[in-house]
Symmetry: C2
Subunit: 238 residues, 2 copies
DNA sequence: GCAAAAGTGTTTATATTACACCCATGT
DNA sequence: ACATGGGTGTAATATAAACACTTTTGC
């Protein structure tokens, strides 16, 4: 409880929690992963931290999140949602208010973006993907922030169709169900899941099939008219 | 679209949307009202704005919200929840990131606090209560902010027990139902409402009754162990 | 044919809704 | 006594859960 009475005004930073669903080894359930950046200066030199940076004076908050995410990790997400503003006095030696965004990114998008950077020779340094369920001690209050992002993700998957953000445009119902199972951490009945999601009217069946080791599964796509997630009146602000 | 490329770093402000439920005339349905403060300087001199102010360098965000609310309106709320961080480049001539909080306040608490200030001779100036459904043009982007706060209130009343924040410790089921009806803007079946809320296990019946013009209604109180609203892992941060 | 996943059907339990009806009190 | 809101009962409907079963492919 060191009441730091710094006379310096608070600076505004922006960070992003960006989740992807990856399987470490094949035939294992997919895990929620997120990229972290190793700090190369004090405070918390050497510890892992969320990608982020300072807000530019003439830059929208969401743009700052996109920019700093790209600068630190080379990744770009099509959809960012504000998570929370963290402004505790003692979360950093200097007074920093962090506006945190969160986003989902498909595994194949991550792979493509990483490959593109590798080909161009501008692969980002000090970036690594971590299992969201077993993180090391992170810099600042970033462990707390990830916990809160996970909570929001889990509660939002129930009433929103954000699972879409982790899937390619066409997918089987089993793939969709696996996303839900990974996020919620429990198995779902395939039959009931199918009925619920088919009955919601947000999915289109295509006439293509995913041919696998057994009976082919029909591919579906999301209705593009339906919003990715409900954000209320703020959605118009883009 | 004036891209103000101000070199000044963003300053952090805090504002509060604080709702109360009041009936303008008796025997009319209660309306959601909120206090606004008339600006006495540019920008937006003369327009009404949300209570708020600058974040002090050594002050927690929530404390800043409480403090500025008290300084501008004389009101104090026991429960504040972060709503959103508004940081648009053009929302103010200077670059301001506003962390907005929202809260609920009982009508009788408002009356008591107003009376206390009047007795002490430090009644706040330039404060007025407005019907949330029909606001004038407000300063900055505050109309948008109130709209968003209303949306959050309405969606949260469904899965949380925030209605409590608008009621005295003991209340009848009809009073509770009226709160829900005012927030949701539609009538609810008294019989079904009773069963739902009784079945939720968050209410204790007392052995006291509200004696009115007709059959006395039993008074209930909320189970104090149950959280006012679910905020996930952040609840521990107080 | 057999294993395994896709997809359908059926039954049961549980919530939601609508609305009829009785109860207790002030006037 | 009667009007009025408090409070209970009940039937119809919708939704969720559990699980048996059939279908279609690769091997």
């Amino acid at each position: 409880m060191t009441q730091s009475t710094s006379p310096e005004p608070a600076r505004v930073a922006v960070s992003t929690v960006i989740f992807s669903l990856r399987r470490t080894d094949d035939s294992a359930p997919a895990e929620l992963m997120l990229p972290l950046v190793r700090r190369t200066r004090d405070p918390f030199d050497g510890l892992w931290a969320l990608p982020g940076g300072w807000l530019d004076p003439a830059e929208e908050l969401e743009d700052a999140a996109s920019r700093t995410l790209a600068e630190t990790t080379g990744l770009s997400a099509s959809y960012l949602e504000q998570l929370y503003a963290f402004g505790g006095v003692d979360r950093s030696p200097a007074r920093v208010v962090s506006i945190v965004y969160w986003a989902l990114l498909r595994a194949d998008e991550v792979d493509a973006q990483v490959a593109a950077h590798a080909a161009q020779g501008d692969a980002p340094e000090n970036v690594e993907w971590f299992d969201a369920a077993s993180l090391p001690r992170l810099a600042f209050d970033h462990n707390e922030i990830v916990e809160y992002a996970l909570w929001r993700l889990r509660s939002k998957v129930g009433y929103s169709r954000i699972a879409h953000g982790l899937l390619p445009p066409e997918f089987t119902l089993a793939e969709l169900r696996e996303v839900y199972e990974s996020i919620l951490g429990r198995r779902l009945d395939p039959a009931n899941f199918r009925r619920q999601v088919e009955g919601s009217g947000t999915l289109f069946p295509t006439d293509r099939f995913r041919t696998g080791s057994h009976r082919p599964a029909r591919l579906y796509r999301y209705d593009p008219d339906v919003e990715l997630a409900e954000r209320g009146p703020l959605t118009a602000r883009h």
